[in-house]
């Protein structure tokens, strides 16, 4: 009896509700599709702007090491290489540090210190990248050139396998310095997500592990990390995405030279830095088109990297027998 009364009374409300629901659905779908449309629009307009470069150089644009505005020969290999190498260095530094920060703040640190450290890390994320660039140039690069790079030269430079990575004059400006500055920049992004997801691990799981006699390392490697795997990978790729596209900080310390060198101590160029440096004075159509084509390639590189990440995640889930 009571149920009937409710359903009768609610009928007009339900009709009005479906209209609102539909409107709500359309609005949210529109918002989602707008992003896709913007993405496609950006990609197409960059491809269109870069068509002259792609027509002139074909696939050679990607493999060529030339960047000669006088003879109008352009190739994207050096900037792509520089972008990927600096981002890789950044990840090598940022991943362990960020996960360490996350674990320390959730499991190990005394409660009173967690708040201040968490806020300090989030403040790091709020520093504009040009400040990192200036700090990199005026403080960090001289330190690298005076202390770190000579040491690397002496101790690793003669090594048969990794030696070529650490040889060359220690000028302090180059891929290694740029990678480290990038690493520092993306630590707050990865670590704040890591802290949140580590906090979300059900205490019961950890307590069970402790009850079974697990050490802290075993809890991390067998409970916390597997449980939060997809969120952590997501956080890492958020950081990577920022590293790939970072412009100002990299421009300051990378050296902006279109040289290909095996050594991490040597200057190089990145896609974003090349565009920022050269766009204002790109005085021929082909030059300008090549820079827009570079922007398109950055888009493609980012897409490929994210696709690989997604694929990796799917495989990991399959290996661990998880379906979601």
């Amino acid at each position: 009896m009571r149920d009937e009364a409710v359903s009768e009374g609610a009928a007009p409300v339900a009709v009005r509700g479906t209209v609102v629901d539909r409107l709500y659905g359309l609005t949210t779908a529109g918002a989602a599709w707008l992003v896709l449309a913007l993405l496609a629009g950006a990609a197409v307009s960059m491809l269109w702007g870069g068509r002259q470069a792609f027509e002139t150089f074909g696939l050679g644009f990607i493999t060529s090491r030339d960047w000669n505005p006088v003879e109008l020969k352009f190739g994207a290999f050096v900037p792509i290489y520089g972008t990927l190498v600096t981002s890789a260095i950044a990840l090598v530094i940022a991943i362990p540090v960020s996960i360490g920060i996350g674990l320390f703040l959730t499991d190990i640190a005394p409660r009173w210190i967690r708040g201040p450290i968490a806020i300090a890390i989030e403040l790091l994320a709020a520093i504009p990248s040009i400040i990192y660039g200036m700090w990199g140039l005026f403080v960090f690069a001289p330190f690298m050139g005076a202390h770190v790079e000579p040491w690397l030269n002496d101790h690793l430079g003669n090594n048969a396998i990794i030696g070529p990575l650490f040889s060359g004059p220690p000028i302090g400006i180059g891929m290694l310095t740029a990678g480290i500055v990038l690493g520092i920049m993306i630590i707050p992004f990865i670590s704040s997500v890591a802290r949140d997801v580590f906090n979300a691990v059900p205490p019961a799981l950890k307590e069970a592990a402790v009850a079974l006699g697990s050490t802290r390392w075993e809890i991390l490697s067998r409970v916390t990390l597997p449980y939060t795997r997809s969120a952590i990978v997501g956080a890492i790729f958020l950081g990577l995405g920022r590293a790939l596209g970072e412009t100002m900080a990299v421009t300051f310390v990378l050296g902006n030279a279109h040289d290909l060198s095996a050594s991490l101590l040597m200057p190089s160029n990145s896609i974003a830095a090349a565009i920022a440096n050269e766009f204002t004075e790109a005085d021929t159509d082909l030059y300008r088109s090549s820079l827009i084509a570079l922007a398109f390639l950055l888009f493609v590189v980012t897409l490929i990297v994210l696709a690989i990440a997604k694929l990796m995640l799917v495989r990991m889930d399959r290996a661990f027998g998880r379906t979601h």
């Binding site: 050139g145 000028i171 902006n256």
Partner: protein, 344 residues
């Protein structure tokens, strides 16, 4: 409701403010002139325009978007004048209906950061400079450098080369000079607002190169003269076409400008590097103003001509205060005749 009752009058006020602002803007635009281009000339142009608007009431809005951008904007006709550190050749000027003339002179100066070597102590020749920037001369105690610098304590350190990472008129004048004095440079990287540098690191803008040179021990770079003076950088003397080592300073730039053969240069298409004259500084450069031969808006074009006449005749104190070099007076007369003959 209360919120709205506050917001609406505020919004109305803001709108009214916008309208009155844009109204002023239109007035200023109809009475003022606009220009765009070279970043090198920006400080002196803005000093000139401030003084000129006080005395004559005409405002000059100049956007320092770079020489390449300035050329593009004047060709598109969106500005009343463009400014470029690199002259256009008469053919290109004719095809786009433009005229050009120089307005100020400056110099491109090699600067070094070597412990124990003060400003002006190091001497370089053109070919040695080219070999350093080509990466062929790698150490400071290379015999090629030591032989022209007897008694200077040159270290056995690697030379760190610093060049511009962005396209620039400074790079154009520098590479133009290197191409003139070194056949291997001419056939190698060549000349241009940006070239494929064989070695070194790139800094963005004069300030970027200056910062890198200051940071890197044993480095060499090149910057505009004004930067050398303002930042007390360690400049070097450069050997000129007559074989004399000349310090970069106003007098030696003016000697280069006076020695240059302006009378035979059609449309002032002349780069002053490696100029003749005993005291001429070899990497002297000038900034050129570009205007339409047959302007769409006669009034604005005339206002621009009046401004540049004033600047060339009466703008010397402002230019000198900012470490630019005014043009020699015969050249100023030649420019005024040229403007009268060519701009309709």
């Amino acid at each position: 409701m209360t919120k709205f009752s506050i917001i609406i009058p505020l919004a109305a006020l803001a709108l009214a403010g916008c309208q009155s602002n844009s109204g002023n803007g239109n007035q200023a635009a109809s009475g003022g002139i606009t220009g765009a281009g070279s970043t090198f000339v920006y400080p002196v142009l803005s000093a000139w325009s401030a003084d000129y608007s006080q005395s004559n009431g005409t405002k000059v809005n100049y956007q320092s978007i770079g020489s390449g951008g300035g050329i593009a904007q004047i060709k598109a006709g969106t500005v009343d004048f463009g400014a470029s550190d690199k002259p256009l050749d008469p053919k290109e000027l004719a095809s786009s209906g433009l005229v050009q003339f120089p307005v100020v002179i400056g110099g491109v100066v090699p600067v070094v950061n070597i412990a124990g070597i003060d400003a002006g102590k190091l001497k370089l020749t053109g070919p040695v400079l080219a070999d350093i920037f080509a990466g062929k001369v790698k150490k400071w105690n290379d015999p090629a450098i030591v032989s022209i610098n007897p008694g200077v304590p040159l270290p056995g350190a690697d030379i760190a080369v610093v060049h511009r990472s962005d396209g620039s008129g400074t790079s154009f004048n520098f590479t133009h000079y290197l191409s003139q004095v070194s056949p291997t440079w001419k056939s190698g990287p060549g000349e241009g607002t940006s070239v494929q540098w064989p070695t070194g690191v790139g800094g963005k803008g004069n300030e970027g190169v200056a910062a890198y040179v200051r940071q890197l021990p044993n480095s060499i770079g090149y910057v505009e003269y004004a930067y050398v003076v303002q930042n007390h950088m360690h400049w070097t003397s450069v050997q000129n076409a007559s074989g004399k080592f000349v310090a970069p300073r106003a007098a030696s730039f003016q000697a280069a400008a006076a020695g240059a053969d302006w009378t035979h240069a059609q449309d002032f298409d002349l780069v002053m590097t490696n100029a003749s004259g005993a005291d001429a500084y070899p990497i002297t450069a000038s900034t050129f103003v570009l205007m339409h031969r047959q302007p769409r808006d006669k009034g604005r074009s005339d206002a621009a001509i009046a401004f540049f006449k004033w600047a060339l005749e009466k703008g010397q104190p402002q230019a000198q205060k900012l470490d630019y070099v005014p043009l020699p007076s015969p050249l100023v007369q030649q420019i005024e005749t040229y403007m009268g003959q060519n701009i309709k």
